[in-house]
Symmetry: C2
Subunit: 81 residues, 2 copies
């Protein structure tokens, strides 16, 4: 059994309107030191298998096929025992 953590972020050259909105809100609330806000997704799940190589191969395919949109998003993942 492995625990997977996946981070999906918009690519650096893609506009992130959600991040821009949060940044404006933070500035309005007095946190003027905040810059370059980017918002992404964070996923956690369990992989019920004992084969680490298989788990990692599956995880990579999942990220590319459904968990991220490779045109505008990057992903990275961690696989923990």
């Amino acid at each position: 059994m492995f625990k997977a953590k996946v981070y999906v972020t918009t690519k650096a050259n893609v506009l992130d309107p959600q991040g821009a909105a949060v940044q404006r809100a933070l500035h309005t609330m007095g946190y003027g030191a905040v810059e370059d806000v980017r918002i992404g997704k964070y996923l956690e799940f369990v992989l019920e298998t004992n084969d680490r190589a298989q788990a990692e191969a599956d995880l990579k395919k999942m990220c590319e096929q459904i968990l991220s949109n490779p045109v505008v998003e990057d992903y990275r993942y961690e696989l923990e025992d």
Copy 2:
């Protein structure tokens, strides 16, 4: 200047319909080993200050006031130089 990374997740005892939907989709696509999918938010931003204690205090307040909903969500953060 510090780089902040904030992870916001639904509390363990709160339903996560988005996670349940992704889990069903993954099962349908043949990834039956996936269980307990939880989806949260991942935020990255820069704090334009040299005062680490102030940066950390601000970050904590931001998390509690706007970046998470403490009723149903947990947060954790990392502050990097």
